[in-house]
Structures are given as C-alpha cells and as structure tokens.
C-alpha cells in the first residue's frame, strides 16, 4: 500500500505551497487516474510519488515505511518504482533502442518488443524517434523493470488509436498485484480503465471510485473539469427514455452495447 500523509510542496522561487494538504491511501491491484485542471500540480505530485522530488512537508509511506527516512530507504523505494515521464527524452541515455532495452536484462524482453512493435526501431537512436515511438519505448523500459508501482504522465498522449488500445490493455493486465497511477487529460480514457479517480485541486486530493463518479457526473464540474462526452450522451439517452433510468456506463462502447441490447429486447424498436 502506498500512503501519502500531509504531503505538500513549495516550488522554488515561490512563497506558498501548491496545495493545502494531501493525504490518501493507494492500494495495489488498482489503476488510479490522476485528473485536474492545467497547472494544478499533477506532474509535480507524480514526481513526488516517484521519490525523485523531495516534498516540502509530509512524507510518502510504502509498506508503512517513510521513503525519505534515509538514503537507503529511498534507494530501496526507487527499485520499486517505474515512472514514464511526460517528456520521454529524459529517460534515454544509450546509443540505440536495443541498448536502452537491454540495459534492463529481462527474460520477457522479446515479448515486450513484440507487444509494443519496437522491432523496426531497435537499431535507431532513441532521440530520433517520433513522440509516440518514444512513449512506447519509455513504457517498455519501465515495464522491463517490473516495478511494484507504475507511474505514467500522459502515457497515451501522442499514440495512435491502435497503440492507445495496446497500452491500455497492457496496463490493465499489469494492474494484477501492482499499483498503477496515471496522469491523464483524457477523461473518457480515465473512466474506461481506472478503478478510482483522484481529483486534484488546490485543497488537496479527492479520490472516488469510478463507479461513483459515473453516477455523480457533477463531480467533474466541482473540480473545474468538463463532463466526459460518454456521460453526457448517457444522460441524454436516459432523459429521452432510450435507456433505462439509473443505468451507468463508463464508455461509448458500453452505451452502444446497452442500446443494442435494448433494440433486441424491444423487438427492433427503441
């Protein structure tokens, strides 16, 4: 379990803390979606969770041990963390993609290469890759480390639809016995694959199970976010009587399936 207790951060050259207070417990076997308006500190929070940035107040506890208690504790914690940075360039320091991957010698290297289709890129310099290719390489590198905690900052940004699906599927299977925290601006994606949403604002971090968020879409407006289109469509269809009341769907696919089921049930009428 990852526990955050009274965490806060004061950026350099600023005279105030970013938030009032952050305290939350994150469990393994879950994917958490960290959402919030621009500039609220989502990437900063992820940097703090990764252990690479020292908090100005509070601490992070992994398996009930504070990670900043000592250099040994921090080093131990870092071996458990995988962090896909928003700017994937900063992760690379080898001459070729192959060398980057082989730096973390793992038996399942070939399967990761095939899954993320990195085969054609192996002999290229990681700095020559496109944005989406760098993201895939960054994710591959982190997955090869087999971290207990996987952090991702806009992990699907810049990926085409096919690889977005591949990455989301990978993360969902990785959730087993691991903790995954993703920063995303794509609320549709967050609803679809996250077990809980962490809404970040100046007051702190507020976590809600996704099932609850779907039932209370006004939560998005409360945190300055626009309601996802799928929730909006669902509400419209329920209001029009095309879907049963008090039904909740996390994606357009689920809505379409519900409509199809309704169509079949009502003998091809709506």
């Amino acid at each position: 379990m990852l526990e955050i207790k009274h965490l806060n951060y004061q950026p350099p050259q600023k005279s105030h803390f970013l938030w009032q207070d952050i305290s939350v417990r994150l469990q393994t076997n879950k994917i958490y979606g960290l959402v919030g308006v621009n500039g609220v500190g989502k990437s900063t929070l992820l940097n703090l969770l990764s252990g690479l940035t020292l908090p100005s107040a509070g601490d992070i506890y992994w398996q009930q041990q504070p990670i900043h208690q000592s250099k040994t504790a921090l080093r131990q914690y870092l071996t458990q963390v995988g962090y896909c940075l928003q700017d994937a360039d900063h992760l690379f320091f080898k001459q070729t993609v192959r060398e980057e991957l082989e730096y973390h010698l793992q038996a399942d290297l070939q399967s990761i290469i095939e899954l993320l289709q990195l085969q054609p890129l192996l002999e290229r310099s990681p700095f020559e890759l496109s944005g989406g290719q760098k993201k895939r390489l960054g994710l591959a590198i982190m997955l090869l480390r087999k971290p207990q905690i996987l952090l991702g900052d806009e992990i699907t940004a810049g990926l085409d639809a096919h690889f977005q699906k591949v990455v989301l599927s990978l993360l969902q299977s990785y959730r087993d016995q691991h903790l995954v925290v993703l920063v995303t601006h794509n609320l549709e994606e967050a609803l679809q694959m996250c077990d809980e949403l962490l809404f970040l604002d100046k007051q702190g971090l507020h976590n809600y199970p996704t099932a609850q968020v779907v039932q209370q879409p006004e939560l998005f407006a409360q945190f300055g976010l626009l309601k996802p289109t799928s929730l909006h469509i669902c509400q419209q269809l329920i209001a029009a009587g095309l879907l049963p009341a008090a039904t909740y769907y996390r994606s357009n696919k689920e809505i379409a399936q519900a409509l199809a089921a309704q169509w079949d049930k009502d003998a091809h009428t709506l």
């Binding site: 350099p12 050259q13 600023k14 005279s15 990764s50 690479l52 940035t53 080093r75 870092l78 071996t79 963390v81 995988g82 962090y83 940075l85 700017d87 360039d89 900063h90 992760l91 690379f92 320091f93 730096y103 973390h104 700095f127 590198i141 480390r145």
Partner: protein, 247 residues
Amino acid sequence: MKLDGRTKLITCIFLTLFMFSFHYYWQYGVIIGLFVIIVTTTFSAEQRQQLLQHWKLVTFLPSLNLFANLFFVNGPVLWSWGWLHLTNLDLQIFIRIALLLMFALALTIKTTPQELALSVGKIFHSVSLGRYNGAGVPLVIIIMVAFINEFQATFVTVQQAYKLRSSSSSNQRGWQRVKEYAFLLQPIILISMKKADQVADALIAKGYHHNSSLFDYQAIKYHVMDIMVYLVLILIFVGNWYLVKHF
C-alpha cells in the same frame, strides 16, 4: 526604478575583469562586501534563495581547478604535501572563478534573456554609432540563454531519471556507473540543443530574423540610477588604485 540591462551587464563584466587585476586578499574582501550589500538590498528573498541554492555549482568548477593546480607550482608555495603544492596564485584563482560564477548567476537572476539580448544589441548599436539596427545579435543571445536554461533544467531531470533506471542495477561496478554518469552529458546536450532549436524556430515564426529591425534601439535610454551606478564603478576603480599605490 529598474536598472538598464546594459548597466547590469557592464557592471558584471567590469567587476569580473577588475577582479583579475587584484593581488591582495583585502581587495577580494571589498568586492565580496560590495556584492553582499547589492544582494541584500536589491534582491528579493526568493532571488537570494535562488542564488544560494546553486552553491554546489559555484564551488564545483573552482574546486576542480584548484585540485588540478595542486600538481603544479604556480609561484610561492603556501603549503605542500608530497606532489601537491598550494600556492598563493592557486587560492586567488579559486576565489576569482567562484566570484565570476556568482556574478554571472546574479546577472541571470536579475536580467531576463530578452533584456540581456536587447542590451547587447543596443551596445552594438551604440558602438557602431547607430549603424547597427539588426536583430541577429540579440537573437543569438536569446537562443544561447534558452540553451543554458534548458541545460540546467534537463541536467536535473536526466540525473533523476538515471537514478530511477539504475536503482535496480545493483550488480553494476562503481566504475561502470561513473562511466554511464559521464555519458549522461550527451542526452542533456542533445535535449538542450533541441530546445534552443525550437526557440530559434519560434523566433523566426514570429518574424524575428537577423535582418529584421524589429528591435527599437533608439527607445532604449539610460536613467539617473544607471549614471549613478557607473559613477560608483569609477569611484571603486579610482579608490582601489589609490589604496594600492599608497598603502
């Protein structure tokens, strides 16, 4: 009233060059005292914190230089141990490099890249008696500063990312880590150059290019505060000459 960018730049250059003419430690003391007064009275608390948090950067290079100089005899020896010899000049060079870095850091804290770029352009304009009206020199300064700023930021992030990736490679030997650490410079420089390239593209997209006359150098004028600063610098120079000559 804010000082002109030229005044800040010229003050930094003057103090640096002036310092390299010193022979006595009390002269360094005077300059350091003056610098402390400037920082205390004209820098905000955040700016002072910014200056102090780079103490490692400011002392690293002079320390490296001092260590290298210990293997040579550069004048009268103050202390020696085996092959290592510390001389008066070694100490003075250490102080000079550290102060040079401090002055440059203070200048970048108090002056924006655009202000610095315009100052250099205006100096060229003045020195060429109004004939130079181009944007090439300021643009080069802006791009260089973008590179330096990006280098500083990327240095930290790349180091952190390496710490994360190498944390589980505990079976690597120490020298392997040191070698990899040295090779981190390559991605840092590449990323910084890419950023500088993006800044160059952005400037061109906005209409700034070396032949454009989008900078109005005529409008840049000195104020009373700038004249007073120059007078103080002249006083310092004359005072130093007098004290060295008579005492």
